[in-house]
């Protein structure tokens, strides 16, 4: 059943699981008292400005820094040669892919400051430190760089063309890797016996994450203790400590503290270790003063990792009844100029593994070639690989339905993996644990009133408008795990999460989590887990995150993993608290440990009215006068590192209904519904908010957002909000979202699946299916994103002669 925001089961803990309590973090954000990195200023700090390449590709003959060094306020100017002299390392890549032939991917160095060659507009050329940001910027303008411009390639397909300019000499044809997954022979056999084959060529357009807080970093060095501190806009401070400390600057963990305070959104773009973090930390030691850098939005556009950017040909084989027999996918993925932290995993294990979608397609084969281009590195952006997979599948399914004359809902039903087949091993390396795909579809059909669509379409037609409806039945894999499997697939890190639950003597609780909240509301949701388990009010619970000196360890927040992995770690640590509490209670209540029951914060002796609250147990643990000291240590403070047994598989059905004005090409979304399965839901209000935001980004990709490079000069043409079209309030409708909790995750202690990316994963496919549906009567079967008014209008115009000739 749908559980609307604002309700929770009667009689339950009002701040427990399932309650839409209002967010604890909101008070500070609403009163301007959040602490984002740029809000922090350190005594005696200097300001950094990074001189960036204006060229997509150029050789650097040399620098003249004379005038810049003499400019007012300048403290120091560094170039790549200074980093080389200090043996500063390359920015590392955290995932290694092997090509079909077994060879490792080409992994060129990625220096924090270039030495002799720039490879994209925005590449870091020099670091200027001055007393004020304005002085640093003024001085940077006086730096003379001897650039010899070279030919550049920015297009994904163009990168592989014979004679294309090479981004790295060691990567012939700009190929980073040529990878595959699945069984090509089985797929060939499936196509050989197909009744019908649906084919599509599509582009998954390049996007820019555009978290509203620009990236920022402050480095500080303490000469007395040899300790470094980095404040940074990161989704995962421990990962930055590991990558920067271990691979770039050679600072061991115990000498490097990384703090990610309030972070103004990430959407993936703040997962990665960026050059600026290493530069401010390194420079702080060079000049013995704190160094602060904050990106201008223009810098964000040309230095934050971009997302998506696939070119794909795909084919779906069906039998005479519309059953899917086989799927063949060939994708070229743009990596940009360098390999960002997790870039190689995105178009491979986060993409091709999801190509089964919700369907029992028996044979799937995917080939992915990753290419270097003279563009900003591409890495995970909300959904990361999974929206690209959903887009391929759902566009194919929608076209197949149209070609075969089968209703789009019916074709999906015929091919769903039934609940009885769960757990289901896909032909692309995943094992889905559960999912009720028919149920999601049925609920979405009800919400959109699918039966009434033909009448609504006719009404639009009477008004001269083209009405369309489009579906996206998505499934995603969240909480990449377990670590040993991820390692076998190329991950160079573990993918667990840590938690420490510390009961204080007077009954309040501090939770230290390795997850990082940058909008997801962990301070609220995680508190609800604790309140629910221990029966204590929310205001006695503190959630601490984002500081490597406080939290034991952490892999951070991305891939909708926080609750499924980080929340499960908290649950495991709470299990240990309860287990220890049971021993203490048995001693205090003079009962056998096996007779002690624990429920909502009370330890009781079974069958009696003798009981103690968990606060009494906590006090006893810290004041152990009546305590089993012979067998138990004092204290009530437990840690857990939770490594999941499998991915979680959130899934659902999104349907978009829209209207196109054929005279102007303007698309107006009339309704957007989502029926989701996130497993168990802790805070419905927060979950619904995550879905809304995700859908908005999916609609953004489909209708307006597009990162564009000039193919000749390699210039970034969409370098500001004047050119990169962000969805605004008047571009979007209100959404109808629903979820059910009938298929909880089977393998984590909370039964949760994750909800952060769902809206984005299905959103763009649902919108584009609706756009194509609206245009289908005019003979249009495909349009690439974004479906801007201009593109729609041109497509209609180009289709007109054919229509006239009929």
């Amino acid at each position: 059943m749908t559980n609307p925001a604002g309700t929770h089961p009667a009689g339950a803990n009002p701040s427990g699981i399932g309650a839409s309590i209002r967010r604890r973090e909101d008070q500070r954000f609403l009163t301007g008292r959040g602490t984002y990195t740029d809000d922090i200023n350190r005594p005696h700090q200097v300001h950094a400005f990074i001189l960036r390449s204006p060229y997509a590709h150029a050789r650097i003959g040399g620098f003249d820094l004379t005038a810049a060094r003499a400019a007012p306020g300048v403290v120091a100017i560094f170039t790549g040669a200074d980093l080389v002299a200090d043996k500063v390392g390359s920015l590392p890549c955290g995932w290694q892919i092997h090509s079909k032939d077994g060879s490792p991917m080409i992994e060129p160095p990625h220096p924090p400051l270039v030495t002799d060659r720039v490879r994209h507009v925005g590449d870091q050329v020099a670091l200027v430190l001055a007393e004020t940001k304005a002085q640093a910027r003024d001085a940077a303008e006086l730096i003379v760089v001897d650039y010899q411009e070279l030919p550049a390639v920015t297009g994904t397909r163009d990168a592989l063309a014979p004679g294309a300019p090479l981004v790295h000499d060691q990567a012939a044809s700009n190929l980073c890797f040529d990878w595959h997954l699945g069984d090509p022979a089985a797929v060939d056999a499936a196509f050989a016996r197909a009744h019908h084959v649906t084919r599509i060529d599509l582009i998954n357009n390049r996007l820019i994450a555009n978290a509203m807080e620009p990236r920022a970093a402050i480095g500080e060095y303490d000469r007395a203790t040899d300790d470094y501190t980095l404040w940074t806009t990161s989704q995962n401070p421990h990962v930055i400590r590991l990558l920067m400390g271990g691979f770039v600057l050679g600072i061991p963990e115990h000498k490097l503290r990384v703090i990610a305070p309030d972070v103004g959104g990430g959407f993936g773009s703040k997962i990665f270790h960026y050059a600026e973090e290493a530069l401010v930390t390194w420079a702080a030691r060079k000049i013995h003063r704190p160094v602060k850098w904050t990106a201008d939005r223009s810098e964000s556009f040309m230095s934050d990792a971009h997302g998506r950017d696939h070119v794909t040909h795909a084919e779906l084989a069906l039998d005479a009844n519309g059953k899917f027999l086989g799927l063949r996918v060939n994708t070229i993925a743009n990596m940009g100029a360098y390999l960002s932290t997790f870039a190689p995993s995105v178009p491979t294990y986060l993409y091709a593994t999801l190509l089964a979608g919700q369907y029992a397609t028996p044979a799937i084969y995917a080939e992915v070639r990753a290419v270097f281009t003279h563009t900003v590195p591409v890495d995970a952006y909300r959904g990361a690989g999974r929206p690209e997979a959903c887009y391929v599948i759902e566009r194919l399914v929608e076209n197949a339905a149209r070609e075969l004359g089968i209703d789009r809902a019916e074709l999906r039903r015929r091919n769903f993996i039934p609940p009885s087949a769960m757990p289901y091993a896909t032909p692309v390396a995943l094992e889905y644990d559960c999912g009720l795909f028919h149920r999601d579809l049925d609920e979405a059909l009800t919400l959109i009133d699918y039966a009434g669509f033909p009448a609504r379409k006719a009404d639009s037609a009477r008004r001269g408008k083209l009405r369309g409806i489009g579906f996206a039945n998505y499934i995603e894999a969240c909480g990449i795990a377990p670590s040993n499997i991820a390692g076998a697939l190329g991950a160079r890190a573990g993918l667990y999460e840590s938690a420490e639950v510390r009961f204080h003597p007077t009954g309040s609780v501090t939770v230290f989590t390795g997850s990082h909240s940058h909008g997801q509301g962990h301070e609220t949701t995680f508190s609800q887990l604790v309140s629910d388990r221990f029966g204590i009010p929310i205001d006695k619970i503190e959630i601490v995150h984002g500081d490597t000196s406080k939290v034991p360890f952490g892999m951070g927040t991305y891939g909708s993993r926080s609750l499924a992995v980080g929340g499960s770690a908290i649950a495991k640590a709470m299990d240990k608290i309860v287990a220890k509490g049971r021993k203490i209670a048995a001693h205090m209540l003079e009962a056998a440990e096996t007779d002690i029951e624990f429920n909502a914060g009370r330890f009781s002796v079974a069958g009696t009215d003798r009981a103690l609250g968990i606060a009494d147990i906590a006090l006893s643990a810290y004041v152990p006068h009546n305590y089993p000291l012979d067998e138990l240590e004092p204290g009530l403070d437990e840690q857990s590192f939770y490594d999941p047994k499998n991915f979680t598989f959130p899934n659902g059905c999104q349907i978009c209904e829209l209207e196109i004005d054929p005279d102007t090409g303007v698309t107006k979304i009339l309704a957007f519904v989502a029926a989701d399965d996130f497993g168990k839901v802790i805070n419905p209000m927060i979950v619904e908010g995550q879905v809304h935001g995700g859908i908005a980004q999916g609609i953004g990709q489909a209708l307006m957002e597009n990162c564009v490079y000039d193919s000749q000069s390699g210039q970034l043409l969409t370098g500001s909000y004047m050119d990169y079209c962000m969805p605004r309030a008047d571009d979007l409708p209100s959404f109808q979202v629903a979820y059910h909790e009938e298929a909880p995750c089977t393998h984590n202690p909370l039964g949760v699946k994750g909800c952060g990316e769902a809206g984005t994963i299905g959103g763009s496919a649902a919108v584009m299916n609706a756009v194509v549906d609206a245009l289908a009567d005019r003979g249009i079967t495909h349009l690439d994103m974004p479906a801007t008014p201009e593109r729609v209008w041109r497509a209609l115009r180009d289709a007109m002669p054919a229509q006239a000739a009929e």
Partner: protein, 164 residues
């Protein structure tokens, strides 16, 4: 450097500023009022909206010198002295109109003026009125709900309105 005198959240302050100093940088860097955010450099995002003499304005579009002699209200000055949230702030909290909170100060300040200047707000009027504010988190769904509710609350709480 010229000196400006500006009344910010009821306190009159005088500071020497460079001619090129924008109001947003004056607020953040000279007064430490970091609730007003900078989200872009082309006056598109609206994270820096404050009230100047009661009118909402992007504080990145105004030099500090231009604010000389005027009254500025930032997000820090919106709640009552005892911490009670302004009805619009309370509505954002009640309706989950914020996630990571970076656009929020500008959204709230824009919303306050929108509510004050537009009688009988409709959903479409709110959406149109937010043309100058970008949010990347919420899809605007809950922001729109919050502003409609906040506007209604401002109508029934004239005291709070008058106090601004």
């Amino acid at each position: 450097m010229p000196t400006v005198t500006i009344t910010v959240n009821g306190n009159t302050v005088s500071r020497a500023v460079e001619g090129r100093t924008l109001l947003v940088h004056f607020l953040r860097e000279q007064l430490g009022l970091t609730g007003t955010h900078v989200g872009c450099d082309t006056s598109q995002c609206g994270a820096c909206v404050v009230l100047v003499d009661g009118r909402s304005i992007k504080s990145c579009t105004m030099l500090a010198a231009q604010a000389d002699g005027r009254e500025v209200t930032t997000i820090e000055g919106l709640a009552a002295a005892d911490g009670t949230l302004h009805p619009m702030q309370a509505a954002f909290r009640q309706h989950h109109g914020l996630q990571y909170g970076f656009c929020t100060p500008g959204m709230v300040m824009s919303a306050v003026e929108l509510a004050r200047t537009t009688p009988h707000l409709t959903e479409q009027a709110v959406r149109d009125g937010l043309e100058g504010n970008i949010c990347r988190c919420t899809g605007y769904h809950n922001i729109v709900k919050a502003i409609l509710a906040g506007a209604e609350a401002m109508q029934v709480e004239p005291v709070a309105q008058a106090a601004e």
